[in-house]
Amino acid sequence: MEKDQDKVLTEVTSGEYKYGFVTDIETEVIPKGLTEDVVRLISAKKEEPEWMLEFRLKAFRHWLTMKMPTWAHLTIPEIDFQEIIYYAAPVQKKGPDSLSDVDPELLKTFDKLGIPLEEQKHLTGVAVDAVMDSISVKTTFRETLAEMGIIFCSFSEAVREHPTLVQKYLASVVPYTDNFFATLNSAVFSDGSFCYIPKGVRCPMELSTYFRINTSNTGQFERTLLIADEESYVSYLEGCTAPMRDENQLHAAVVEIIAERGAEVKYSTVQNWYPGDKNGKGGIYNFVTKRGICKGDDSKISWTQVETGSAVTWKYPSCILRGNNSTGEFYSVAVTNNYQQADTGTKMIHIGKNTKSTIVSKGISAGFGQNSYRGLVKVLGKAEGARNFSQCDSLLLGDKCGAHTFPYIEVDNPTAIVEHEATTSRIGEDQIFYCNQRGISTEDAIGLIVNGYAREVINKLPMEFAVEAQKLLQISLEGSVG
């Protein structure tokens, strides 16, 4: 019986990665390795102003003094940062103004990924900034959004066209000294998205960035800066995929969010970087720093993430709740299958009065996967009436995977109420059989149970993506029964 179970387990956990193809396109790459000259070269390629280069150089010099952090519950072979290519760009006409200027191969690539760049093909009113390797390929619906005063463009364009805004907010939430990977990103970041929602504007469509790694041996270092001015609202979504390769590839991104008084930002991620093969070979190393600040009173930042990809995930989307009555939320589903490892969670820093935070983390481990929740709830002395509720659930499929929880709670105000709940469960053989007896196959049963388990988080995603995320969960766990 044990044997049978193992067999089914192996079968269900060997699902295929659908986005593993490579686009054959002329790509400009710089030599591998990281030196001050490389930083200057990247800046020059992007024709950046002096202040941007200065920022990069400061970061680079600081990075040289840093060591890669080792506190996470992850086993990572040493990364040789001199073996990575820090800039790779599909060759195309400069600043494609219309779609006809975009290389058809690129259009095909994004079509294949389910991200059509033709605006009329969008049924749902989603504006997309498509990023391939180091540069933004195309941002859709810019004109429509511009009419409302919304700026949505690639980071490089923002540096050129909105330098005051960029200078004001860049590194204001994640300083260039923040951590090893954020500092590296500050030195070599190539592109990403920039978004500004003016006062009182409710962004009428989902904004999204789609990240694609294509070139081998390159790292992707994108940077996203999202500013919601007073009383504004925006829902933002990012998605990511990469080709299947035997070598590991590095992705180190920084996302900063600023919510002014009364503003609300919903930031959703569906992360599906190549996870490596079933023996743990290849896959993306995903080291991401995401942080938002609820700067003004009554503001709200909500992170939702569905993490199914990457060989290694190191990621803690956080909220600094500075404004009074501000709210921070973190909803997460993280799947580790085969030899994937994830150390992910959040930090909620309560500074303002009556600040509220909610954390719902759902880990799913299968195969030999290792899944850790790491979270910090910190209530500062002046945060009268702060409230936090955390729920960390782990679901295990099989007996060779692991789930770990590392909650840190620091409370310096006696009026604070902090609650933490945790559960660990396992998909039982009897549950599977019950489904089988009603005509439901083992794989579909696991899909049902896993989606039921993750529903609370999936429901937080914009509707169009919730369906995608559900399918993705099922595919990620294909072949893994307990």
Binding site: Y434, N436, R438, I440, Y453
Partner: protein, 260 residues
């Protein structure tokens, strides 16, 4: 429709079923009674393909097909339904979603299109009334937080939705008060089509007052030791199982003696 022939099955090398033979024709109701440990639940497991027991000998033919070669889900799609003695809770999976998946898998197996949402909901409403199940229950997760009686009603509700050819009711009466028992039993009678066969596995006679069997079999030590009409159930109720036990042991004894 179902022929069980000389069936032997073991759990962890311990033989539980020791040559069981039973034939069920379309539309017949067979009650299988017997003391604890006689192999009643193992029979349910073997019929539905649960891999707790290993079949070592004999055959089961269902509608002309070798049942033992079929996966549990295939058997279910072919129309074998088990009302579980202990229904399983599946947190997070709504009854609606669960039932819709099950029905559509069965339809797919039979080459039919999935039910439309409105038709599905209509059937849900209709069948809920049949088994007098509280509407709110079907909006909850599968069996989660259901009382014992609600769980059993929910089994019969699922049976009504799936319209099986062969229903196996495993101790469906256990844990039910008399009202719930009546509702559940009447539910079974109402949803049964003329050609639906039922195997009622039970310890007590009381369920058989509502679901009247065509045959009553006594299972003892892995074998059917006596078969008769419904009157046998009453006799068992009155006299207990001891006389069967004695009788069976004697036969066994004399048989071994003969061997010597």
């Amino acid at each position: 429709m179902l022929q069980i022939n000389e069936l032997r099955a073991a759990i962890d090398d311990k033989e539980i079923l020791k040559g069981l033979t039973l034939e069920v024709k379309p539309g017949e109701i067979h009650a299988i009674m017997g003391p604890n440990g006689s192999g009643k639940s193992t029979l349910a497991n073997v019929l539905t393909g649960r891999d707790i027991a290993t079949v070592t000998h004999g055959s089961i033919i269902f509608e002309g097909r070798n049942l033992l070669e079929m996966s549990p889900e295939e058997r279910a799609r072919e129309g074998i339904f088990l009302s579980f003695q202990y229904p399983i809770e599946i947190p997070g999976v709504s009854m609606v979603n669960f039932m819709k998946t099950a029905i559509n898998e069965q339809r797919k197996h039979r080459g039919l299109d999935p039910l439309s949402a409105s038709e599905f909901l209509r059937q849900m409403r209709e069948k809920k009334e049949l088994v007098e199940i509280d509407s709110a229950l079907t909006n909850r997760s599968v069996n989660e937080g259901f009382s014992g009686g609600e769980k059993k009603k929910n089994e019969i509700f699922q049976m009504a939705m799936l319209e099986p050819r062969l229903a196996v009711l495993d101790e469906t009466d256990s844990g039910l008060d008399i009202d719930a028992l009546r509702i559940v039993a009447n539910g079974v009678n109402k949803i049964r089509r003329p050609d639906t066969s039922v195997i009622v596995i039970t310890h007590y006679q009381r369920l058989l007052e509502y679901i009247i069997p065509d045959y009553v079999h006594v299972l003892y030590d892995g074998r059917i030791v006596r078969s008769a009409g419904p009157e046998l159930a009453l006799e068992l109720e009155e006299r207990g199982y001891d006389w069967i036990r004695k009788e069976a042991d004697i036969t066994e004894e004399s048989w071994t003696t003969d061997q010597k």
